[in-house]
Symmetry: D2
Subunit: 142 residues, 4 copies
Amino acid sequence: MLISKKEVEVRYAETDQMGVVYHANYLVWMELGRTQLIKDLGFSYAQMEKEGVLSPVIDLQIAYKRPLRYGDVATVNTWIDYYDGIKVVYGYEIYTPTGELAIKSTSSHVCVKGDTFRPIRINRLFPEWHNAYENAKKQGEE
Amino acid sequence: MLISKKEVEVRYAETDQMGVVYHANYLVWMELGRTQLIKDLGFSYAQMEKEGVLSPVIDLQIAYKRPLRYGDVATVNTWIDYYDGIKVVYGYEIYTPTGELAIKSTSSHVCVKGDTFRPIRINRLFPEWHNAYENAKKQGEE
Amino acid sequence: MLISKKEVEVRYAETDQMGVVYHANYLVWMELGRTQLIKDLGFSYAQMEKEGVLSPVIDLQIAYKRPLRYGDVATVNTWIDYYDGIKVVYGYEIYTPTGELAIKSTSSHVCVKGDTFRPIRINRLFPEWHNAYENAKKQGEE
Amino acid sequence: MLISKKEVEVRYAETDQMGVVYHANYLVWMELGRTQLIKDLGFSYAQMEKEGVLSPVIDLQIAYKRPLRYGDVATVNTWIDYYDGIKVVYGYEIYTPTGELAIKSTSSHVCVKGDTFRPIRINRLFPEWHNAYENAKKQGEE
């Protein structure tokens, strides 16, 4: 299984008055993580959108283990947790600078047409993307 | 069970280039919902923080059913889904202006000391709050 | 001169670790203020965008006088500071709950076509809007 | 004059339904720019806050020349525009990937005590910082 790594510096704007990163901002970092994974697979999400395809989140789970603070550089690990040709579930672990687990989460996505929001079968319309996802799942397995 | 209602106007800043509300922003609305619930119970989260108590999110699940758009006024329904004297789980449903379900979610919280982030037993240190939560759970049941 | 009033409750997400509203968020409130002004004039910015017209900010100035905090309800006053048929400058004052000036700012806007970002003459293409702006400037004058 | 450079990748969360970076988000990038400048001078803003000193924005001006879009990597140039021992004004230019000017802006700051928000004379309390600022102003001059 391919695990992509993305370093993220905490922005001052991302903190709240609790003195830690505001909990909704980790969803933005998860997005940075999966953008990196897509890039590592040789694709570009920005390019996909230009071609009229969107990939909205349909479901998301997140467990907050430890807070991150301004001045920290976090590491976001991202992998493909599940993929069936239509739905893709990304898994994430976000680590503190000292290597402790801060966040464990997943997000589920489908692909839709940008103009109609109708679902698309990734395996049929984007066979190259489909193959890359299948390979990313298998990578490292025997 | 007490269900609090909070109306939220979509802000332009909350949209993204998909033309809908960016998915992380619903976590902010969930917070508006539970702030309203706490207010309806006769308490103030701002006041609680001034007294040195924080209530961080430890777990969150969210299902995205329908998008909301700039110009919409959404309704956030919030209730106490679970409470055991230490942990509280809020349940949320967010509705479109035409009454369709847009978001279904939960968030789990504990209370901690603001200076040490050590957990607090709500039932022991805040008996009034504890009673209000117990009543909010029971309200409407027979 | 017509002055629109919009009340804004500080959101927890809007604070930063300084314990006050993060400075960039006041730009979002300025937008809430001018949306209210446009509504008070009988128009809808959301509707204008659906008709293919955007009104981007081209210039902005903001002076930070006093901080606002979580729990505060601020009042945003908005008026038309300048309008020449092409460019419109909105003026803003944001007040604390005790009526002290927190923010004084202006933002300059033009209207452009949504597909090409080419400028539009408001006075020619939107004569009703033009008249409303002219009246809002004059209102209260002798 | 020392000019610091910071590359910033546009985040999806930073776009709005206009399809470009939402205008308030450039203030966050300006902060990334001045954090980099402070780092280039050998200091850390995170560390300064831990020592109980804050540096709030008191005034800000921004001119929007060209939009940035998702997929773009922008460059933020930051320098010290003015410094008198108490107030510091940072200057910024943000460039598109093709080197066109997108944003031109300034922000004014003072230093205050974190607990009282009372102003601090940088030149007296932080002589090393003062010297670094003086040098950054002069650097490259004859």
